[in-house]
Subunit: 312 residues, 2 copies
Amino acid sequence: MLKLLFADRIENWPAYEPALNAALEQAGIAAKLVLPPADPASIDYIIYSPRGPVQDFAAYTRTKAVLNLWAGVERVVGNPTLTQPLCRMVDEGLERGMVEWVTGHVLRAHLDIDFFLTHQDGVWRQTGHVPPLARDRSVVILGIGALGGACATTLAGLGFNVTGWSRTQKTLPGVTCLSGATGLRDALSKAEILVTVLPDTPETTNLLNAETLALLPKGAAILNPGRGTLIDDDALLAALDSGQIAHATLDVFRVEPLPPAHPYWAHPQVTVTPHIAAETRPASAARVIAENIRRFEAGEPPLHLVDRSRGY
Amino acid sequence: MLKLLFADRIENWPAYEPALNAALEQAGIAAKLVLPPADPASIDYIIYSPRGPVQDFAAYTRTKAVLNLWAGVERVVGNPTLTQPLCRMVDEGLERGMVEWVTGHVLRAHLDIDFFLTHQDGVWRQTGHVPPLARDRSVVILGIGALGGACATTLAGLGFNVTGWSRTQKTLPGVTCLSGATGLRDALSKAEILVTVLPDTPETTNLLNAETLALLPKGAAILNPGRGTLIDDDALLAALDSGQIAHATLDVFRVEPLPPAHPYWAHPQVTVTPHIAAETRPASAARVIAENIRRFEAGEPPLHLVDRSRGY
């Protein structure tokens, strides 16, 4: 019987234990899930997240693979003790969750839903609060890989005028695709609603800064379900205070949980959500984990194996 | 030169005047727009809404048609002074507006966006606020004609588990279609989010009452962008107070504007929007008006002519 170490935060155990056991049973894998502390030399697979208790992989001499529960691997890929194969999570539920969060918050900005929620005061305000139709609203997505691309095509399907930007040129149905430095300036200059879904790399750090925020149309809304490092926080706060940016909905931050004293929490033009946009769903993630264990045991190529030289 | 009376509320004149003139010019129609008071016997066409100044059509002896700016004609179709042909508005912009309002508010309920907007207090709450995916969320649309059907297929396209109900059986791609009295009970019993898009007829009055509201799953959300008469207001308020219904977002009311003292305004579980879900958009509506004038003048069959025996 295989021994699987659950090395995510213990708070997630109640949701994952039944999901993993169900997925393992369905995949026909005889395995026992164990929690730390457990003898490292007895563990066949590590079900991992960077928020869990395992930082040093050296003692896991028997371990055949580290199976990450997160899509991002930036907090583990450079770990010098990691000699085992590393797989990242590509969870179809995660992609759907991202699409739903982005679509919901784009429509919230588009329809000015917050205005109505804060004006339940008996005054019937009709004039001026009928928004343009989606086809007359320009939405720009920075980052049109698997997640951002799914968001872009979904918003285009709802009728929005969607522009997607990526480092290298891509093609997506119904979406104006731009790339490179000039493309970025063109994209930003028409972003009434800007969505950032880029990965965390040296090139994307502080991509939204004082200079690039000034390129947006005055009164733009920003949604960041990507990575906290994409935004220069001081520059965004200044742009919100000047009215250059009307509103920001932020799901990711440089430090998480976002500290209680951080100015984002109290800012009237900022909505904080607690890193939920692309949450891994236990049921669908457990199926990916079980399938990968099955593949390793059968000697088949695993899914979503990380190329360490590329970093993802 | 034709003489067209603009008989909608005067507040709408600044938006409609340029839109109508542009559409008339594009259709090649030589016409002059006039405002009341104007000699009724000089008017060729009346551009009409029930909120405008014309209630008696008898003196409009030269008028070839009454062109309604609203989709609903229940407030004019029974007017005994109306002997001229009546056309209702079928505005593609109106349909898109309805789809966008419904999709935005369904996603708002689905993602529990209000919870985050009211909890910007420095506490990072992750557990329990990751919603199920749309595919695990049951949305029911009562009324799947042109508007409700477009809402149903759009929500199904986003992945929601959508059921549509209509008086007579219909078929829509990706939507479970139910009909009749038994179908209504089945639909209501699974409506985590219920959207009412039915017309105002004797059969639909108070369709949502104490008995039918009790059929919904406890904690359901209701969106009404249809007609105010669909809901027994006292029964809804009681169901909100008991927790049977968690939240209602209401765009239409028995009396509009909704009076400042109406309990809906102050109720913490109710969001009032001022009849904006299916607002006629001046640009697209003006094109329909101009096209119908062109057709009447050319002796061609007009668009969306009302059958008075049917009532719509």
